[in-house]
């Protein structure tokens, strides 16, 4: 055989075309909005429900105060760490408020405020960050998964809960929260892929707050937007102004309703900004400028809503004062209860490792008990 006769050497041997192939879905309906979707400050705002928006306003004021109080508790050494969501309150609160009682919320470590907005006792929500136990509440009772420290690993859990609920015929939606950095993790990909293949009733909410600790979005992804990533999985992607609580409410509600109706998952990117450092251990001045922070201050989620509602005459001074008083009362209560020393039982170390303690753990528990008794006697 000469070289010229080898299969593939020339085109002449290829007599049949390859089997027909075409994409299963048109990409166009999956593509996100070209600009972050906005309602506040646009003509669409006139159709808003004033009562709902007043409720959101009160929640935003409370959320801002919660962030301030938690940050203060960190400075006092009452919390080991607090990843602030100042500037992101709109997304935190909308995520909690669009869910029904039977739905599940899957927060990341930064989303304490979302858990509180869903009704969790603020002290229970802060247990992880105070350091007395990892999760201070029963996740099944509140349908709030433990605050998740590893990035994006809670997303497949959300898919699993949603999938299991659907298998059981329950109308449950899972809403999973993740940051822009978390979208680079493998679990983000696997969760979105499973959700789309299974058509699981899940809403993925990415809060793009600009930085993964210090790494800006441009170094995180080359995608046009994070919402574009939805296209590859075959689910709709939405891009929304993450500081516009009215827009968030609309986009999230629509995604939750589609999921509940069997329409499958949605990926939502909320474009927002983290006004404070990653945590109290971080120095944000090393990676961003004051002018950038100042520019975002002019787009503050609380002020955006306040301006809109006041301008339309939907919010009076009394309502503003009431919201601030309620927030202040929450903060005072939180401060008082967080200042009490938590009661810890060291024997809990061995209580929840296995349903039945292993011999090894019984031995180690006995050792600790003896040490504690010796301490008491001394």
């Amino acid at each position: 055989m000469t070289v010229q006769e080898l299969p593939g050497a020339g085109a002449s041997h290829r007599v049949t075309p390859p089997p027909a192939w075409r994409p299963r879905t048109e990409a166009a309906p999956l593509l996100p909005d070209p600009e972050p979707y906005r309602v506040l400050g646009t003509a669409a705002a006139e159709h808003l429900d004033p009562a709902l928006m007043r409720r959101y306003y009160a929640e935003l004021v409370r959320g801002r105060r919660y962030n301030a109080q938690a940050t203060a508790l960190t400075r006092q050494g009452r919390l080991a760490v607090y990843p602030s969501t100042v500037g992101q309150e709109a997304a935190e609160i909308a995520a909690a408020l669009v869910l029904e009682e039977q739905d599940w919320l899957f927060p990341s470590y930064r989303d304490t405020l979302a858990a509180v907005a869903r009704g969790l006792d603020p002290v229970q929500a802060l247990t992880l960050l105070r350091g007395d136990w990892h999760t201070g509440y029963d996740p099944r009772e509140h349908r709030i998964a433990p605050l998740c420290t590893p990035l994006a690993t809670q997303l497949p859990h959300a898919v699993g809960v949603a999938h299991a609920a659907r298998l059981r015929g329950d109308e449950v939606v899972a809403l999973a929260m993740v940051g822009d950095g978390g979208t680079s993790e493998g679990d983000f990909h696997e969760a979105l892929n499973f959700a789309a293949v299974w058509q699981a009733p899940v809403v993925f909410l990415v809060q793009n707050n600009g930085f993964a600790i210090s790494v800006p979005l441009a170094k995180q992804t080359a995608a046009p937007t994070l919402a574009h990533k939805a296209v590859g999985y075959g689910m709709p992607g939405r891009l929304v102004d993450g500081n516009d609580v009215a827009a968030l409410h609309e986009v999230l509600t629509e995604a939750v309703q589609r999921a509940r109706a069997g329409g499958g998952p949605t990926l939502i990117e909320a474009v927002t900004y983290r006004m404070e450092a990653h945590t109290n251990a971080d120095d944000a001045t090393r990676y961003r400028t004051d002018s950038e922070v100042e520019a975002w201050k002019a787009h503050d989620p609380v002020e955006l809503l306040e301006r809109e509602l006041t301008g339309r005459g939907w919010l009076d001074e009394t309502a503003v004062r009431e919201a601030r008083d309620a927030a202040e009362a929450m903060a005072a209560d939180l401060r008082e209860r967080m200042n009490a020393e938590p009661v810890l039982n060291p024997m809990d170390l061995f209580a929840h490792v296995y349903a039945e303690q292993t011999g090894r753990l019984r031995e180690q528990a006995a050792m600790l008990r003896a040490e504690l008794e010796a301490e008491d006697d001394a």
């Binding site: 136990w133 990892h134 999760t135 029963d138 996740p139 099944r140 009772e141 998964a145 433990p146 590893p150 690993t153 997303l155 497949p156 859990h157 959300a158 898919v159 699993g160 809960v161 949603a162 999938h163 299991a164 609920a165 298998l167 059981r168 899972a174 493998g186 679990d187 696997e190 969760a191 892929n193 499973f194 293949v197 809990d348 209580a351 929840h352 490792v353 296995y354 349903a355 292993t358 011999g359 090894r360």
Partner: protein
């Protein structure tokens, strides 16, 4: 022999026992779900889930996308919602992408939630060598699992245990890493497919052969090798006791200690590498508790501390009868 008798007791393989365990568990408990790559239509690459999809439907026997973190991660969510997922990892080394889910969530969820949310997940991992598999298909990864608090780790070596331990694992309220010695998949036992199988549960070791000269402590794929070595040792005049651990976590220290105190000598045998392997822990515990009964140091016969070798070389790596007998010989010194 009558036809009926032939039906009642016939050779069954470990693979068949595992399949029956899942079938029986699924029939009894509608919350049991089987999931993994290829477990549905194909019945698994080893056919361990053969027929389950046909019997129970795709909702309960699910071919997942090819993504181990996703398989285990979604199983976590399903267990959070009250199901009992039985997850297949296909091959030992394929489970590694799922390790973050395993270690950060599966093993810890009970602990993180103060017991409010235990995760009853069974993770089936075909493991170990001796089947001529190429790279990444023959790892003995048990030390990774046993080093992780919160995981139960079991490994059957017999057809009965394959059934009994898998049923116990699926019934457990804790996550169980169920290590299947894949080279024993086609090992057979006279076994009645309909008769109840009663074997000791998780956490109990069994003395598979009694003896007086020394104790071989082993599990999973090395059990038949140790039993063969014990037979061969008779020619040397040694009467070896063989303990099958069955469960690495919890570890049945009492059975092991009682045996070594009787024989005064011990060799731990496993395929996994020796450094930091389960044998290191067992040897340390035996030494702590049997020091005054020991006539010789506790020895280990393990795989070498090397990446699993290519199939044409694996016979040099895997602990065999000769290496076990050499170790037993080294135990026999006087003073």
């Amino acid at each position: 022999m009558t036809t009926v008798a032939q039906q009642a007791v016939k050779p069954a393989t470990m693979a068949q026992a595992l399949t029956r365990a899942m079938r029986d568990a699924m029939a009894e408990d509608p919350t049991v779900h089987v999931m993994g790559e290829d477990v549905g239509t194909l019945g698994g690459v080893f056919r361990i889930t053969d027929g389950l999809a046909k019997e129970f439907g795709e909702d309960r026997v699910t071919d997942t996308p090819l993504a181990e973190a996703g398989i285990l991660g979604t199983a976590v969510g399903m267990a959070m919602y009250g199901l009992r997922p039985v997850v297949e990892m296909q091959f030992d080394a394929f489970a590694y992408p799922a390790f973050e889910q395993l270690i950060s969530h599966v093993a810890k969820m009970r602990n993180r939630t103060r017991g409010a949310m235990p995760l009853p997940i069974t993770i089936r991992v075909p493991y170990g060598g001796g089947i001529g598999g190429v790279e990444h298909h023959c790892d003995s990864s048990e030390a990774y699992y046993t080093a992780t608090p919160g995981l139960t780790v079991v490994t059957p070596a017999t057809v009965e245990d394959a059934y009994g331990l898998l049923r116990a694992s699926i019934a457990s309220d804790d996550p169980v890493v169920f290590l299947e010695p894949k080279r024993l998949y086609w090992s057979k036992a006279q076994w009645s497919p309909d008769a109840p199988v009663a074997v000791p549960g998780i956490g109990e070791a069994l003395v598979r052969r009694t003896g007086t000269s020394a104790t071989l402590i082993t599990y999973g794929p090395s059990l038949p090798v140790c039993l063969e070595a014990a037979e061969a040792a008779r020619e040397e005049g040694w009467d070896l006791e063989v303990v099958d651990l069955r469960s690495l976590v919890p570890f049945d220290e009492e059975t092991v200690v009682a045996s070594v105190r009787r024989t005064g000598r011990a060799v731990v045998v496993h395929e996994a590498g020796g450094f930091g392997g389960p044998g290191a822990e067992i040897a340390a515990r035996v030494t702590e508790r049997c020091f005054h009964h020991l006539e010789a140091p506790v020895l280990r016969v393990t795989g070498f501390d090397i990446p699993y070798p290519p199939p044409m070389l694996e016979k040099y790596h895997l602990p065999g009868v000769e290496r076990i007998l050499d170790a037993v010989a080294r135990l026999q010194w006087e003073n």
